[in-house]
Symmetry: C2
Subunit: 194 residues, 2 copies
DNA sequence: GTCTATAGAAGGATAGAC
DNA sequence: GTCTATCCTTCTATAGAC
């Protein structure tokens, strides 16, 4: 049933990925997915047990793709605080929301199959931030009292919360302000530069 | 039509307030609202033009209530950074999400009537944080290079992003970690205490 | 594997009596 | 103002042919 080689299966998952980002889970119907993918009813229910499983497959692919993007932002041979800065200031489509975490508040997210890919994505970012901050601390690039783990969580929250601010104010500048504040706070806990 | 004195109207809005927080906009149907409120179909469509207007009325009331709660956290006669700290560390139901901003990613939020109460609420918090940080800066309680406006946005984003982290990990501790990081960062940009 | 046709339930709103 | 009954559409899934 989960044969990745099938053409229609791939088209269905691709359409689901696009629609989940555009509209979210509740607002996307199986018919929407079929219309966009060009597949018929039968193909969807041949490959998947229903809407939920389609979404789970789509989210798993999105998480894999975005985790690869994150890894590219954290090359091991660069200064650790540069990696953190690169993550904070990367380009983002603020008004579209986070491709994965945009689903955080849907009722369906209480289902583990849908929540886990999103949790893995955010967990991966948080781990990368924490590792970088720990490396910075070991190299005395961070102020002594600063704990990497909570600060990593706070920086990730600034980004995810920044998406929320942009959506609510319908203005990408709201996210940029939050990121700018994060950059200032990070600079303040960094060792004075040479 | 918008007569506030009507008993059923109030019951409908109260039910909508509860359901919007519990399930969000898309996942709440007019029938759900009627079932919980005890009103009939006719009452809803007598007082409102439809689902959207019910939600708008509910959000407006929620914003008003929550803004009053925020104001209570920022009494003018306390040290400004204590006010910011009180906001960061107030008790929250992390897994339920922010009562207003939990709707940020719903497609319906592109409608101004729904977005505006949420934007007013977040804007009010951000203004209170910014004013407190400006007062702290004027009193030399903040490091010189720190700009109040972006830092206020970042702190608000930490809270709103913290809700997202808690929902995605299905663990209130994820939000606590982000808040803790925010507290540490704020302490780092504050003047060393006497 | 893929298609079209269909079914049962829920969503959102209206009609009209009281 | 409030109620019940009804309507049309959309949602989600199944049936069965090819």
């Amino acid at each position: 049933m989960a044969r990745p080689g099938s053409s229609k299966r791939e088209a269905i998952v691709a359409a689901a990925k696009a629609l989940l980002w555009e509209r979210g889970y509740e607002a996307t119907s199986p018919r929407d997915v079929l219309d966009r993918s060009g597949a018929g009813q039968g193909s969807l229910y041949h490959h998947f047990s229903g809407k939920r499983e389609v979404a789970a497959a789509a989210l798993a692919e999105m998480a894999e793709e975005e985790i690869a993007v994150i890894d590219a932002l954290f090359p091991p041979d660069t200064p650790p605080l540069d990696r953190v800065g690169a993550y904070l200031t990367r380009e983002r489509q603020a008004l579209r929301g986070c491709r994965l975490a945009r689903l955080a508040n849907e009722a369906a997210m209480e289902e583990p199959a849908l929540r886990e890919p999103v949790a893995a994505y955010l967990g991966h970012i948080e781990a990368a931030l924490r590792a970088s901050l720990e490396e910075a601390k070991a190299g005395a690039d961070l102020l002594p009292g600063i704990e990497p783990a909570p600060v990593a969580a706070a920086l990730l929250a600034i980004v995810e919360g920044g998406y929320v601010l942009a959506r609510v104010h319908w203005d990408a500048a709201a996210m940029r302000a939050a990121i700018d504040g994060g950059v200032q706070l990070l600079a303040a806990v960094s060792r004075p530069q040479a």
